[in-house]
């Protein structure tokens, strides 16, 4: 049941991405190209998504717990640190170069387009590499507390 729900949520997300234009790098890059062929469409994607989520979350959080889970798993961190800031800046550079973000590229992997696969392979390489490095650093500095990185990655807003 949990798997079916997950599949359906993914399906709605993938349909939304397909409809929105987020999977189309030409459109994404034009959204950021204020000095050139500016296409403001993606502001409508963000606006619509944040609006629905803002209202829906308030409604969902009235419950004590999720319908099929123990607790709402929300990121506990509140401080803006150097790691968050540098990560966001590096992500922006990559997004500007490629025109794909993870949520835009993953749903269209099934189209078999080589550009999507090239981006996604590099994306996976970057994620795995960074997690291994972070986990090695954490393991070295706090031996026995390697689980810290797991909180960083999976308990976060990713």
């Amino acid at each position: 049941m949990k798997l079916l729900v997950s599949y359906l949520v993914g399906l709605i997300f993938g349909l939304g991405i397909s409809l929105s234009g987020m999977a189309n790098p030409a459109k994404v890059i034009n959204f950021f190209d204020i000095a050139g062929a500016w296409d403001p469409s993606l502001a409508f994607v963000m606006g619509g998504a944040v609006l629905v989520t803002f209202i829906g979350y308030r409604w969902a959080f009235k419950r004590a717990r999720p319908i099929m889970g123990e607790t709402f798993q929300l990121p506990g961190k509140t401080r803006v640190d150097r790691q968050l800031a540098s990560g966001a800046i590096i992500f922006g550079i990559g997004w500007g170069l490629a025109g794909f973000c993870p949520g835009g590229a993953l749903p269209v992997l099934g189209t078999g387009l080589s550009e999507v696969w090239l981006f996604s392979a590099a994306l996976i390489g970057g994620i795995v590499l960074t997690r291994l490095v972070l986990s090695a650093i954490n393991g070295a500095t706090r031996s026995g507390k390697v689980s810290n990185i797991n909180e960083v990655i999976n308990g976060s807003n990713s």
């Binding site: 296409d39 990560g87 993870p102 990713s158």
Partner: protein
Amino acid sequence: MITEFTPIASLMGGLLIGLAAVLLMLLLGRILGATGILSGALMPEKLDDWAWRVAMLLGMFSGPWLYRLFAGELPEISVPSSPMMLLVGGLLVGVGVTLGSGCTSGHGVCGLARGSFRSFAAVALFMTSTVVTVFVTRHLLGV
């Protein structure tokens, strides 16, 4: 390259993305972040935390095909970036979203919607960084 302004389709897509985020929180109590779902599917911590992520990825892969049922064709994907830009860009996105704990969906949709200060900071930084990158590559380097 000019792209067509599509406010209605983009708004509808955004509403669906929001619906997916709300359903995932309401049902499973999880933030919908493409990065987190992928990252946890690739390198799971616990076995029982793995299957739902894979199921969700499979759902995502099916999305464009469902779209095709309605629209008659797969979503348009036109890529102005060279293979080298896709490779370097993909690598930087992977490094950045892992360090920064999230991407457009995690921070940009879920984080903003729940009023997370970290997400506001992350979105402001990555949006600015993307604008600067596109300006440099398009207008200064002429790529």
